[in-house]
C-alpha cells in the first residue's frame, strides 16, 4: 500500500483504507496539541522546511502528548499509523528531500520503520530522541519536564545522528553526557577559550568523538561504568579529537 504514489504525496491512505489492519491502543490520546505545534512550526519564518530544527521544536510537545511507556512505544504499528494516517503531511514537510522514485527505501522508512530501530521513522525518532534526553523536573509531572537537552541534540543533525543511531544511546547516562558535552554551545565555549590551536568543525568533533567512543565500548561495558567515568571518558576522547590526534582516516 505504501507505494511510490503514496511516498510522492500523490495519494493518501485513510483510516478506512487501512481499517482491516488497525488495532486499538487501548486508551485514547488527544493528539490536537501536536497538530497545533506543527501548525506553529510551519508558520515560523525562522524554521525552514526539511530542517532538523523541526524535530527539535516538535519533540517536547510530541513526547509530552504521546505519554507512552517504552513498551507501548516499541509497537511499530502505532508509529506506522501516526505517520501514514494521522500526520503524513508532516512527514512530507520534514522529509520530502530524501524521496527518490528509483530507490524509495529512504522515504519509505520515514513512514514505516520503527521498533528497535530508534532512528528512522519520522515521529518515532523524535519521540525516542526526547525519551532518551529529557530530564524530569522536581514534581515528576509531565508538564514539569525539561527538554532543553532534547532540543540541543535534535537541533544538531550530526549529533542526533551520531548518538541516536547507535547502541550506546540505549543507556541514558551516555546519551545525556554526549548531549551535554558535544552540543554546539559547549563546543563553541571550548573553542572560545582558545585552548586548541586548530580545532576541527563541530560536526567533525561530534562524529570523531562518538566513533572513538564506540571503539572504546568494544572493550568496556558501558552499563558497568559510573556516570563520572562516562563523562571523563567522553571528555578525554573529545580532547584528543580537538587536538587532532585521533588518527583521521
Amino acid at each position: 500500500m505504501v507505494d511510490n504514489r503514496f511516498l510522492a504525496d500523490e495519494r493518501e491512505l485513510t483510516e478506512d483504507d487501512l481499517g482491516p489492519y488497525l488495532q486499538p491502543l487501548g486508551r485514547s490520546l488527544d493528539l490536537s496539541p501536536i497538530d497545533e505545534r506543527i501548525k506553529e512550526i510551519r508558520a515560523d519564518d525562522e524554521i525552514e522546511a526539511q530542517s532538523s530544527l523541526i524535530d527539535a521544536e516538535l519533540a517536547p510537545t510530541l513526547h509530552r502528548t504521546l505519554d507512552l511507556t517504552r513498551n507501548e512505544a516499541a509497537d511499530t504499528g502505532l508509529w506506522h499509523y501516526l505517520c501514514i494516517v494521522r500526520f503524513p503531511e508532516f512527514v512530507h514537510y520534514r522529509w520530502d528531500h530524501v524521496y527518490d522514485p528509483e530507490s524509495p527505501g529512504n522515504m519509505k522508512e520515514k513512514f514505516l520503520k520503527a521498533g528497535t530501530d530508534a532512528y528512522s521513522n519520522a515521529l518515532h525518532r523524535i519521540w525516542w530522541g526526547a525519551e532518551l534526553t529529557y530530564e524530569d523536573g522536581e514534581s515528576g509531572e509531565v508538564e514539569d519536564r525539561d527538554y532543553s537537552r532534547t532540543k540541543r541534540v535534535l537541533g544538531f543533525q550530526e549529533l542526533a545522528n551520531d548518538i541516536l543511531d547507535h547502541n550506546f544511546a540505549r543507556y541514558v547516562p551516555v546519551t545525556h553526557a554526549c548531549g551535554d558535552l558535544l552540543c554546539h554551545d559547549m563546543l563553541n565555549d571550548i573553542k572560545e577559550e582558545g585552548t586548541y590551536d586548530d580545532p576541527p568543525s563541530n560536526s567533525n568533533i561530534v562524529s570523531r568523538t562518538t566513533t572513538l567512543l564506540r571503539e572504546e565500548l568494544t572493550v568496556r561495558r558501558v552499563e558497568m561504568m559510573e556516570e563520572d567515568d562516562i563523562v571523563e571518558t567522553i571528555e578525554d576522547l573529545r580532547d584528543v579529537v580537538m587536538r587532532r590526534e585521533a588518527g583521521w582516516s
Partner: protein, 629 residues
Amino acid sequence: MSSQWGFTTSRPTDARYGDDVAKYAMSHGEPGLKTFVREVLQNSNDARLDNDQPARVTFKLDSLQDDEAIEYLSALDIDNWADHADLATDTESGKHILEAIERIKDDEEIRVLTIEDENTEGLLGEENADESNFTALVRDVLFSSKSGDTAGGSYGLGKAVLWLYSGLSLVMFNSTLSEPDPKDDSPRLIGRTRLPTHKSKDGDTVYQGHGWYGSLNGDEAGARPESIWGDDADGVAEDLQLSRPDVPGTSIQVVDFRVPTAEERLDDEELADQITEMAIEWFWPAVYRGDLEVAVEVDGETKEASIDEYPRYEPFTSCLDNREDSVDKLEERGDVAQATISLDVPEKTGGNGGADGELDLLVRRAETGEYQHQNEVAFVRGAGMVVEYYDRDRVVVGNQDFHAVLLGGRARPWGTNENPGEADTTVEEFLTAAEPPQHDEWVRTETLANTYSRGFRTAVEGIKSDVTQRLRGLVAPDVDRGATGPQRLGNRFKIGNESREGRSDSESPSSQRVTGNTNISFDEVYTHWSFDGEVEPSNDRNEIRSVTVSLVRMAEERATSDRLPVQNISSDTAGVSISLPEENGVQVGRLEPAPGTSEISFEGVSKRDSRQVETRLKVSVDVAERRDD
C-alpha cells in the same frame, strides 16, 4: 606428644613475602568459586588410584558456633598462631587476615570446609622428600609431582587456591596413605599457614611467613613441626573434626572458608548448590565415565552431584552415548556427527616425540528447548575435565543449533571400543603443556615453548580455527534442500554444500577465491598487535598476485573506517616483495609474491596502540589465473 604451630625463620637479608606468590597468581583471572571447585576436583581426579573404582570427593560444610567453635580453635592452637598473625599486619594480606579474625570474634562463628577424597593416593612421601605428593601439596610452592606429564594439573599452582579461599590463610590436612609408610601408620596429619613475612616483637627474629602445625621433634632452633601419625593423628583429627574413613585418600580442611570475590557471604545451601553444579559443569566427562564422584554434605545431609540433576549437560554426554550411531549429515534433532581434526605435534626440543595426531569432534544437533550451552564446544582431554567451553554461536548465518565435544589425547576414542594409541598419548602430553596455570584453555604457553621445537604454535593455535571450519561443514543451513531456482542461475552462483568447507571452485564469487587462516592478538609487553596468517587460492589454476593487510578498528555494532597503521610485516615465503604503502593516509602491509606463488604466509605487528580497543585483521587478496612462465 603435643601439636603446635611453628614458623620457619629466615635471615633479615632474605627476600620478604607480602603474600604468597602462587596464591597471588591464582587470585588473578577468576577467583570466584569456579577456580576453587575446578582446582580441588582436579587434584583428587589426578590422584585417583589405578583401579576400577572412582575417586570420590565430598565437600563438607560446617559452621561452628559457641563452645564447639572455642574447642575447635583451641585444638587448632589458635593463640600461638594468632601471635604470629598479629605481627604480620603491616601488609595488605596481613590486614585481611586480621579482618577475618575480627569477623570470627564478632560473629562467634567459624565456617569450615572439609574436602574429603577417597580412592586416591593420599599424601605419600617422606617429610623432606624431593618429590612426592606430600611435598607437592603441603610443602612446596610451584612444584608439581603429578604422575606423568598428563595429569590435569601440572604447575603445582592450583593448590594455592586452598589458602586463597581460607580467610585465615590456614589449611589442615589428614591423609590415609595408599601405600604403607615404612616408618609410620596412617593417618598423617599436618597443618599449614601462609602468612606474610614478619618479625618477632623484639625485632630480633625474622619469620619467613610459612607456618606448620604438627609435632615438634627435639629442640633444634628453626626446626619445623612435622606430620603427626597414627593414633596421635586420629586423636587430633577428632578434635579438629577432621576424622576420615579408613580408606586411602586425603581430607583437606579450609579454615574460615570464604569466596575471595563474593560481595555477600552465601549461605550453606546456596554454596552446596553451586559446588555440585560446577562439579558437573567442569567434570561431567569424568563423572560420566565413572572416574569421579562428587557430593556435598551440609547439616548431615548429603547431596550427590549427578548429571541427571543438571540435564543441561546431557547434550554433551549424548554426543558420547550416540557416537557409535553417528550420521554423515545432521538431519534430525539429536543426530550426532563426527569429524576429525589433525594436530601435528612437533618433536620435542631433544628430537624425540612428535606425532601426526588427531582430535575427534562430536557434534550433536540440539533438541528443542536445549538452550543452555547451545552452540558451544566442550574441549576435553584424558583428565576428564572440561578445559573450556568454546562458544561458536552463529558459526554460520542461520546455522543449526548444536552442542559439541572435542576429544583430545587419551579422551579421543571415548564412546567407541577403541583404546587410545601412542599418538593419543603424545597429543595428551602436548595439550597438557598447552594449558596455562588455570588449565582453562589450550594456548601457546612457556612450557610449550620450552618443551617443543618449531611448529608448536601453529599446532596449538590451529585447533580452534579447524574446529570452526569443521563445524561450518556440519551445521551450515542446507540451502540445496528446497527449491533452488532456475538451473542456469544455480550454475552461476554456486552456493550451498559444495562451498561449505570454505573451499570452492573457480566459479564462486571472488570472496571465496582464497582460503586460509589469520590470527591477531594484543601483545601486552610491546603494547602492539601481533598478527599472522596464510592464504592460498582455492583453485590450483590460480595464483596470488598481491596481499594487502590492514588493521580495522571495531565499534560497538560493526567495523568503523578507522585503521591502525601496520608497523612492519614479513613473510617466510620465498621471493615475496614487501612494502608498507599508505591507503587513505594509513600504513598497510603489502606482499607481492613471485609469479607462480600459490601459498603465502606472513606475520607482522601494528604500531604501538595505547587505546587497545578491539581490532581485526583485514586481508585483501588479488588472485588471477596462473601465468605460464
